[in-house]
């Protein structure tokens, strides 16, 4: 019976297309979870790889003014390249794979991290470094026990910004079919503008970014107990 769909629904009416539909989320939970997993994997891998590459670069750039200029100029240039173009540059080499997305994301997080790492390292007072050297600290111990703790707030600020913007950027990976929750956004768009799917993908991205930011803020607090003591 037609009336089962409600008295207001005629055959000529457009199908109902609500913005929020809990039944979509429950009935497609496994799909959503798979995309969420990919989203998280890509984000974590991009930020970790970015940090691993950015740290030596920042250390090098701090060592000489001569290197700092080019490192910063190149990173500004990379940051200016639109994300879609970045994936397009990488795609011919790595094909339609998650690697393409990962390479692009690593480049962007790298750019953010190098700058923050450099600022953090430069914020360590020279007196402190001199004193540590005078006490017999070697370069490795100087870095681990003196410079890293002092530069940590700036490092963590960089990691937080990089993580949040990476979560947002993963969605552009839909161009090669690996966009995490972005797949839901374009999927819903292509499925005759299915709003529930689009909203699920979008809200999922924002929630994931906020959750990641909260977790990192918590980690920062746990790693720097002395800042709390100083503040109270």
């Amino acid at each position: 019976m037609l009336s089962a769909a409600g008295p207001a629904t005629l055959a000529a009416d457009a199908a109902p297309n609500p913005w929020f539909d809990p039944s979509y989320v429950t009935s497609n939970w496994s799909t959503i979870l798979a995309y969420l997993g990919e989203h998280v994997r890509l984000t974590v891998a991009a930020v970790v790889l970015g940090a691993v590459i950015a740290l030596p670069l920042a250390l090098l750039a701090r060592r000489s003014r001569w290197l700092a200029g080019p490192v910063l100029t190149v990173s500004t240039l990379i940051y200016t390249i639109p994300s879609l173009a970045m994936f397009a540059f990488v795609a011919p080499i790595t094909g339609l794979s998650a690697t393409t997305v990962l390479v692009g994301l690593v480049l962007y997080s790298l750019v953010i991290l190098v700058r923050n790492f450099l600022v953090g390292l430069q914020s360590v007072p020279d007196d402190v470094r001199e004193a540590a050297r005078g006490m017999g600290y070697g370069p490795a111990r100087l870095f681990w026990h003196v410079e890293l703790p002092l530069a940590l707030p700036s490092f963590m600020a960089g990691i937080r910004v990089a993580t949040v913007s990476t979560v947002a950027l993963v969605t552009v990976g839909v161009i090669v079919g690996h966009g995490g929750l972005g797949q839901l956004i374009t999927g819903g768009f292509n499925a005759n503008f299915y709003r529930a799917e689009i909203v699920t993908g979008s809200v999922g991205c924002v929630l994931l970014a906020l959750l990641a930011d909260l977790l990192l803020a918590g980690a920062e607090r746990a790693l720097t107990p002395w800042t709390r003591r100083a503040a109270s």
Binding site: L84, A88, P92, A157, V167, A168, L169, F189, I198
Partner: protein
């Protein structure tokens, strides 16, 4: 590098530039959408930022706004506006881009006006300037460098982001990239990427020159300057 060769062949073919929906049409569309979006964001962002900075309120609000905006994927916003009754097309794209251009302009204007030396404001009041005069003739010139940084950041970001409109059936140069992907012609993809990247870099350079020419006092080109992201003070640039 046959791919690069393919890209250069594509870019060298005059027909690809002049045909309907060719590089010329799409580039013009790209630029006009971006210009309208940035202009709309300036019309809203600069007065509000100037007012908030002048009265010294709302710092937490602007910082929160720019931080939250970074978490929202551009693709999501472009898609969400496209499925509202506005419908997909240039209007939805422009609105989404204007929303994205707002936080950097608002935040940098606010920080610029907030950072004006209070003594200068006091002095200009003591000289008999009215409040609008204080804002326009004392604070605005001093806030100009940061204000222009905000506009430049927003414009580069918008030009870069307008590419994504192609993913949701919008126009702009991103179309060349998405079309190339669909036809598995990576030379065309590369050509589109080169065009978009060049346009973004050109925007950055042109606006740096504009900023230099409208900034009073000792001038410097701020291209290679270290623009540090400091979420606490708010002079931020968001994701491309």
């Amino acid at each position: 590098m046959s791919l690069l060769g393919d890209a250069l062949v594509y870019l060298n073919d005059p027909f690809n530039w002049t045909k309907p929906n060719g590089i010329g049409d799409l580039g013009l569309q790209h630029l006009s959408i971006s210009a309208v979006a940035v202009a709309a964001a300036m019309v809203v962002g600069i007065p509000v930022g100037a007012l908030l900075g002048h009265i010294g309120r709302g710092g937490a609000f602007t910082v929160a706004l720019s931080n939250v905006s970074r978490a929202i994927p551009t693709l999501a916003l472009l898609t969400l506006f496209a499925v509202t009754p506005i419908g997909f097309g240039p209007t939805a794209t422009t609105i989404a881009l204007a929303v994205f251009a707002l936080p950097p302009i608002l935040t940098n204007t606010y920080v610029g006006f907030r950072g004006v030396d209070r003594d200068v404001v006091e002095a200009s009041r003591a000289m008999g300037m009215s409040e609008p005069q204080v804002v326009l003739r004392a604070e605005l010139p001093l806030a100009m460098p940061l204000l222009m940084t905000g506009v430049r950041t927003a414009a580069v970001q918008v030009v870069a982001t307008a590419t994504l409109a192609a993913l949701v059936a919008g126009g702009g140069l991103g179309r060349i990239i998405t079309l190339g992907f669909r036809q598995q012609q990576y030379g065309v993809v590369l050509a589109g990427a080169i065009l978009v990247a060049a346009l973004a870099v050109a925007t950055e350079v042109v606006l740096a020159v504009v900023a230099w020419s409208v900034t009073p006092g000792p001038k410097r080109l701020g291209l290679g300057r270290l623009r540090i992201r400091r979420p606490a003070t708010g002079a931020v640039t968001a994701a491309p």
